[in-house]
């Protein structure tokens, strides 16, 4: 036994080469394996990043046009005879004039603008000019008049949206060829647009309304914005964050640190990982049944959306939190207990901070998932044409009907007008920016908590 020449000494390869500088065959092989392994790792990260870049490239390329919009700025006359027959500026009377009453004013204004700039209209009927302007223009004008009744009888410089086809033309999406069989707009319209643009009446401008505005109906993509849906998402995420993080962490702590290891806790554990595999739409079914039908929460409310998404996010946070709690070495707990800390103190003072990176990762991923989820919202009424006005307070932010960004994007992607397609991608850009802003704190915190021992 004390003999140094042992069976292992007769191993296949010469065990130790004479020089450290030259690797022996086996070491070469192992080093090659090492290099391969590292290369796989690098490749894996690379693949992930390449896909990310490819996706981001597609998103940005398709989405950036949504951030500019074509506007038409022309003088509009507000004849008292049409808008306020009684002449007393009574709001109730003013609001009796519908948008249908305002539409001709716009047609007239466009025709006059053409005239004043010396552009010949190729159209017989004034009505054909309407298609240059967004269908939202009468409503905008009406809103303006209701707010400024004193301007009735005057002529005001009014900026309105051009119609989506005109906008598409300036962005290169619509061409004369492609209009051949379009019944909304003709090539003659485009000639007008060219001249109006030369006259400086039509301009492409940065589109704040897209970032802050509300959804619009199918027929006026040029008006649609994601802002209100963003507020919806914001309030939902508030609910999700405020509930799922504490509840998730609390549940994990209980299961990992305190729960007696018995069938009951096994049941809970299996249950939680099973909940992760429940399709999100099933959470929608649950939300509809529990929150709306049973608890009588309002429909289409971000609060309910947030609650449903919380239930959906919890398993993600619990699973990741438990995994990182498990990874904290027991000697740390012993050390704390040994100086007379209670189990609760040991967990909250020592284990939890050490598990923080994993918890935050779970939160990041869980929230990303929650932020991008549409299916469960379908059943609680947050998908469709919903967000028409921004909520006017915190309570209505939670309770008033609203949509969410992914639902909005999903809706847009479905809509027929191709102008909605670019808006869907633009919406995705905003969603991603929102996501990154949301994550940045978590990422910074996570970096702070990371340590090896």
């Amino acid at each position: 036994m004390t003999d140094a020449t042992n069976p292992a000494g007769a191993a296949p390869a010469p065990k130790h080469p004479s020089s450290l500088l030259a690797a022996d065959v086996r070491t070469k092989r192992r080093n090659a394996a090492e290099a391969r392994f590292k290369a796989y790792g690098l490749a894996a990260v690379g693949i992930g990043l390449i896909f990310l870049v490819a996706l981001l490239f597609a998103i940005i390329r398709n989405g950036t046009p949504a951030f500019t919009q074509t506007f038409l700025t022309i003088p509009v006359e507000l004849p008292e005879a049409k808008l306020d027959k009684n002449g007393n500026r009574d709001p109730a009377d003013l609001s009796k004039v519908t948008t249908f009453g305002y539409a001709p004013l716009i047609e007239v204004a466009v025709a006059r603008a053409l005239e004043e700039n010396g552009i010949d209209s190729p159209f017989e009927k004034q009505k054909d000019l309407r298609n240059l302007v967004s269908a939202s223009a009468p409503a905008q004008l009406r809103d303006y008049v209701l707010q400024h009744p004193d301007d009735i009888g005057k002529t005001i410089e009014f900026r309105m949206l051009a119609s989506s086809r005109v906008d598409g033309y300036l962005k290169g999406r619509v061409t004369r060829d492609s209009l051949a069989r379009d019944k909304n707009l003709d090539a003659e319209h485009l000639d007008l647009v060219d001249q109006l643009q030369a006259a400086g009446l039509i301009k492409k401008q940065f589109n704040w309304a897209f970032i802050f505005g509300a959804d619009a109906s199918e027929s006026r993509p040029e008006q649609a914005g994601i802002g209100v849906a963003m507020i919806g998402s914001f309030f939902m995420m508030l609910v999700v964050l405020a509930l799922s993080l504490p509840i998730g962490v609390a549940a994990s702590i209980y299961l990992e640190e305190f729960a007696p290891k018995n069938r009951w806790t096994d049941l809970i554990e299996v249950n939680i990982s099973n909940l992760a595999a429940v399709p999100s739409i099933v959470f929608g079914i649950l939300g509809l049944a529990v929150f709306i039908q049973f608890m009588h929460f309002p429909q289409s409310a971000p609060l309910v959306g947030g609650l449903v998404l919380t239930l959906m996010t919890l398993p993600t946070i619990i699973i990741s939190t438990r995994a990182s709690l498990k990874a904290v070495p027991p000697s740390i707990r012993d050390a704390a207990l040994g100086v007379g800390a209670s189990k609760m103190q040991a967990v909250f003072h020592h284990v939890l901070p050490l598990a923080m990176p994993g918890i935050l990762t779970g939160t990041i991923i869980g929230l990303a998932q929650a932020l991008g989820e549409t299916a469960p919202l379908l059943l609680i009424g947050m998908v469709g044409f919903i967000a028409s006005n921004a909520p006017d307070g915190i309570a209505s932010g939670f309770l008033a009907p609203n949509s969410a960004m992914p639902a909005q994007i999903y809706e847009w992607a479905k809509r027929a007008d191709p102008a909605y397609y670019e808006r869907a991608w633009g919406g995705i850009i905003i969603l991603l920016l929102f996501l990154m802003t949301m994550n940045i704190i978590a990422i910074i915190l996570r970096r702070r908590f990371e340590r090896r021992w």
Partner: protein, 488 residues
């Protein structure tokens, strides 16, 4: 006083309790915290919690119970002949509530005086227009019963609120007083606070059970309904999935399960190796700088809406695969762009961060001494990682993979756009197939008769999927239990 004001008052009382509790504890210890059983903050929290918890529980119970009770009382005022069933009654009641709320608002805005609000008559006042003036829209004119009911409602509510306010504040005060009285230097404040915290923890954990119960309950009735209309044997063992509107649908779940399994398998085959290797690279090889950037960037992959992935599958990956594996590529395996492979690959990309980020955190928390032990024996870094670090991190990694698998099972958009909608039992990964989840969504959001098996099958699918994943999870738990390696 509104409920939120009461809430604030209770919170304020708790805050006062906090201070008093602390003070009293310190006083009983002669100003020296060393004489206390627990830290002063525990005494403070104990008093605060004693003031807060019972009062809040009372408040919540009251808030739930009072409307129900008042509703009952007011309902009895509405003549039987006004409604045919409970639904209509509930509509009348919502009108009553709306009027009552409107009156409240009117009083608040000084549009009506308090007396007016409780005495106006429909005969003399057009309540609807009075309320419309202050922005309360009513669906119809207010009739006499509704108005009196609303006034009664207001009166009851006012009394109820007054009693509630008194009781809640009393409860808070009682809790405060009692716990203050109990506070002395020997009182085990920490233990009692920890008990409350423990109760919270247990409550949080039980939420999972509640959710499960909720899911089962919300699926089970319709599932039973489905099996009344459609034979269970055909559902579980049928190999054809072809719903049709005119009846005569074949709703066999097997092709859907096969599709779910196949697509998830491919997705995991992409995500697990890439994710794991990425995690290993980030935690073991990459510089902190690279890691600090690459990790959050990879996480963006999890945040890209799935519709983007779906379009990516449909427009980019599918055609690419066809050009390689389709007729042009000379292999002829692939008919169209939508295939299990397409969806699986793209889903795999989406799942990379699920595996990579979580595993990275877990790998990072394996103690350095484990690595040292292995490196000291002359192991290469990769050997160390493969044989020491990864096994030690296994439970966490399994968790991450489970999460990814769960997500793969639950994904719809990528499947719909990437794998097609055809339910098929085939071994060829280049065939179009579909998954259980995709079909749940499509049957649920379709145009079929909602009482027909074609629509109800969604619930049965959900339920079956739930049971099967449960079984898989039991299996996974068992695996982890068996192979867990605990370090110190």
């Amino acid at each position: 006083m509104s409920a939120s004001l009461i809430f604030l008052i209770v919170v304020a009382l708790a805050a006062v309790g906090f201070v008093l509790g602390r003070g009293r504890a310190m006083a009983s210890a002669g100003g020296d915290i060393r004489n206390l059983h627990s830290l002063p903050s525990y005494y403070a929290f104990n008093v605060a919690l004693s003031a807060l918890v019972p009062a809040l529980i009372l408040l919540v119970v009251w808030l739930i119970a009072q409307p129900a009770l008042i509703e009952n009382r007011v309902q009895s005022m509405i003549p039987q002949d006004r409604y045919a069933d409970r639904g209509e009654l509930s509509l009348i009641m919502s009108d009553v509530r709306r009027v009552a709320d409107g009156l409240d608002l009117a009083v608040e805005r000084d549009a009506l005086t308090r007396e007016e609000a409780s005495s106006i008559r429909t005969e003399f006042t057009d309540v609807r227009s009075r309320l419309a003036d202050i922005g309360v829209a009513l669906g119809s004119d207010v009739d006499r019963t509704t108005l009196t009911a609303a006034q009664r409602y207001r009166a009851l509510n006012a009394t109820g609120n007054a009693i509630r306010n008194a009781l809640v504040i009393l409860a808070a005060l009682a809790g405060l007083g009692l716990s203050l009285w109990k506070t002395n230097h020997e009182f085990r404040a920490r233990n009692s606070v920890e008990k409350v915290v423990m109760a919270l923890l247990i409550g949080a954990a039980s939420l999972a059970i509640l959710t499960t119960v909720g899911i089962v309950l919300s699926l089970i009735f319709n599932t039973v309904e489905f099996f009344k209309l459609y034979p269970a044997m055909d559902f579980f063992f049928g190999t054809t999935w072809s719903p049709s509107f005119g009846g005569g649908s074949e709703l066999g779940i097997l092709p859907l399960f096969w599709g779910t399994f196949y697509i998830s398998l491919i997705a995991l085959a992409v995500a697990v190796p890439i994710g794991l290797f990425a995690a290993v690279y980030l935690s073991e090889y990459a510089s902190p700088y690279v890691r600090g950037f690459a990790k959050p960037l990879l996480e963006v992959l999890a945040g890209i809406p799935t519709i983007v992935y779906g379009l990516f599958a449909l427009l980019t990956v599918g055609p690419l695969l066809v050009s390689v594996f389709g007729e042009q590529g000379g292999l002829g395996w692939m008919q169209g762009g939508t295939a299990v492979m397409t969806a699986g690959l793209v889903m795999g990309i989406m799942l990379i961060p699920f595996v990579s980020s979580l595993s990275d955190d877990i790998i990072n928390s394996v103690p350095q001494s484990m690595r040292d032990g292995s490196l000291g024996l002359g192991a290469t870094k990769s050997e160390t990682i493969r044989q020491v670090v990864l096994p030690a991190a296994l439970p966490g990694i399994v968790g991450a993979v489970l999460l990814a698998a769960s997500r793969a099972i639950g994904e719809t958009m990528i499947v719909v756009l990437g794998a097609g909608a055809a339910a098929r039992l085939s071994l060829n990964p280049f065939d179009a197939m579909t998954t259980v989840t995709a079909k749940i969504v499509s049957q649920l959001t379709g145009d079929a008769d909602f009482a027909s098996p074609e629509a109800l099958v969604a619930f049965a699918l959900g339920m079956t999927l739930f049971v099967i994943t449960l079984a898989l999870n039991v299996f996974a738990l068992w695996i982890v239990r068996t192979y867990r390696e605990q370090y110190e």
